[in-house]
């Protein structure tokens, strides 16, 4: 993750030019274009619902790139730089990142109603699809000839999550404290089987404190 553009202007209009706008998640490089194009948009509750409806229905293998293309490039509701700020906060807060993004965008333009519209738009259609998929799975889960296929699918998913972790690890600077905290949270969950709330409540304040001290 990049450092710039964290606090200032999270919800304020974008500066006219954002030459140092960081590119998050390897998205579109035309941030100048996007930043300049935001002319106080006024999406309705219905617009917000439909935009996140579109985001939710894309997203094979990751929804976030589509969120950026819909919100920044297509609708121009936020600039590229604002989108990065929103993403940063969405990642810091607990909860699914994209759900947090839909809430932040919704609140920004239409308050609590907008947030609800964003979340419902985002999750409504995928929810129906996943319920149908789950029902189909339950129907056939006990078929002997499919058991092997389902086991293989599950194993692939396990490997995919490992790869997500590996890619995230590559984005960190390999300093001793970073490695220590990464190893500690891994060991606490995977090896010591300590419940996540305890792990987070113990490690998060410590990690933030060390990072804060390193800043000064």
């Amino acid at each position: 993750m990049r450092h710039d553009g964290l606090g200032g202007g999270l919800l304020q209009p974008a500066p006219q030019s954002a030459p140092d706008a960081p590119l998050c998640l390897g998205m579109t490089p035309d941030n100048e274009h996007s930043a300049a194009a935001v002319a106080s948009p006024h999406p309705s509750v219905r617009d917000i619902f439909l935009a996140f409806f579109r985001v939710g229905l894309y997203g094979f293998g990751g929804v976030m790139p589509h969120a950026r293309s819909v919100l920044v490039d297509r609708h121009r509701w936020v600039s590229d730089r604002e989108m990065t700020d929103i993403l940063t906060l969405a990642q810091l807060l607990p909860g699914p990142n994209i759900v947090n993004v839909s809430i932040m965008i919704g609140v920004r333009f239409r308050g609590a109603t907008g947030a609800a519209a964003g979340v419902l738009g985002l999750l409504g259609a995928p929810l129906v699809i996943i319920l149908a998929l789950g029902a189909t799975y339950l129907e056939f889960a006990d078929e002997p000839w499919l058991k092997g296929a389902f086991a293989g699918v599950g194993a692939a998913a396990a490997g995919l999550i490992v790869s997500v972790g590996v890619r995230l690890a590559h984005s960190l600077q390999p300093r001793p404290l970073v490695i220590l905290f990464g190893a500690a949270s891994f060991a606490a969950i995977a090896l010591a089987a300590i419940p996540l709330p305890m792990v987070v409540l113990a490690l998060a304040p410590l990690g933030i404190w060390f990072a804060w001290r390193a800043e000064r």
């Binding site: 606090g7 200032g8 919800l11 229905l57 094979f60 293998g61 906060l89 810091l92 607990p94 909860g95 699914p96 759900v99 947090n100 809430i103 932040m104 979340v119 999750l123 995928p126 929810l127 996943i130 319920l131 998929l133 789950g134 889960a141 499919l146 092997g148 296929a149 389902f150 086991a151 293989g152 699918v153 599950g154 194993a155 692939a156 998913a157 490997g159 995919l160 490992v162 790869s163 997500v164 590996v166 690890a169 404290l177 220590l180 905290f181 990464g182 500690a184 949270s185 891994f186 060991a187 969950i189 995977a190 996540l196 709330p197 987070v200 990690g207 933030i208 404190w209 990072a211 804060w212």
Partner: protein, 174 residues
């Protein structure tokens, strides 16, 4: 445990996990796994991993894995409730954060939070992958699928669906 007890246990746990889910749905999978597989045996490790796979293969955010788990444990209504239980607490927090942070104060502080949480998040996601891999490693074949997928998905830009399709094919033939 009766149906209501099962629902209350699952939903209560998901609501708590929601508030500590830095890193999103992936980070809490070990705790959910422990609850529904290890402690209560409501699903097997393979069924759990299959739910994760289906949620990755379907359109939409990965958080929908909570719906599949709930649906498996107690039917479609519990599936919907599980998604709400996991999303609502963190969503309220996000709402309040945006409301409180409208002036977006304190850049250095926010940066420290970000720097401090990043390695912890990475550890949590890796732990998730580890738990799922060991949970599905019933045979040499599944372990090999998981490890090869982990390696190739880390080093190439192949669409995840390829790995899930290949996993299904190899699993069915093996």
């Amino acid at each position: 445990m009766d149906t209501l007890g099962v629902a209350a246990t699952l939903l209560g746990q998901l609501a708590v996990l929601s508030l500590v889910s830095i890193g999103g749905a992936h980070a809490v999978l070990p705790d959910v796994y422990r609850l529904v597989v290890t402690e209560h045996g409501w699903m097997t490790g393979t069924e759990f991993a299959t739910a994760v796979a289906l949620s990755q293969a379907a359109p939409g955010p990965n958080v929908l894995v909570m719906t599949l788990i709930g649906q498996y444990v107690g039917g479609p209504a519990l599936g919907i409730a599980a998604l709400v239980a996991f999303c609502l607490p963190s969503s309220l927090l996000a709402y309040l954060a945006v409301r409180a942070d409208l002036k977006a104060r304190g850049t250095p502080w926010l940066r420290a939070v970000k720097e401090g949480l990043a390695p912890i998040t990475v550890g949590l996601v890796l732990a998730s992958g580890f738990i799922l891999t060991t949970g599905t490693a019933g045979s040499g074949t599944t372990l090999a699928i998981a490890m090869v997928t982990a390696f190739l998905a880390s080093t190439t830009k192949l669409n995840p669906l390829w790995f899930i399709g290949a996993g299904a094919l190899i699993g069915a033939l093996a």
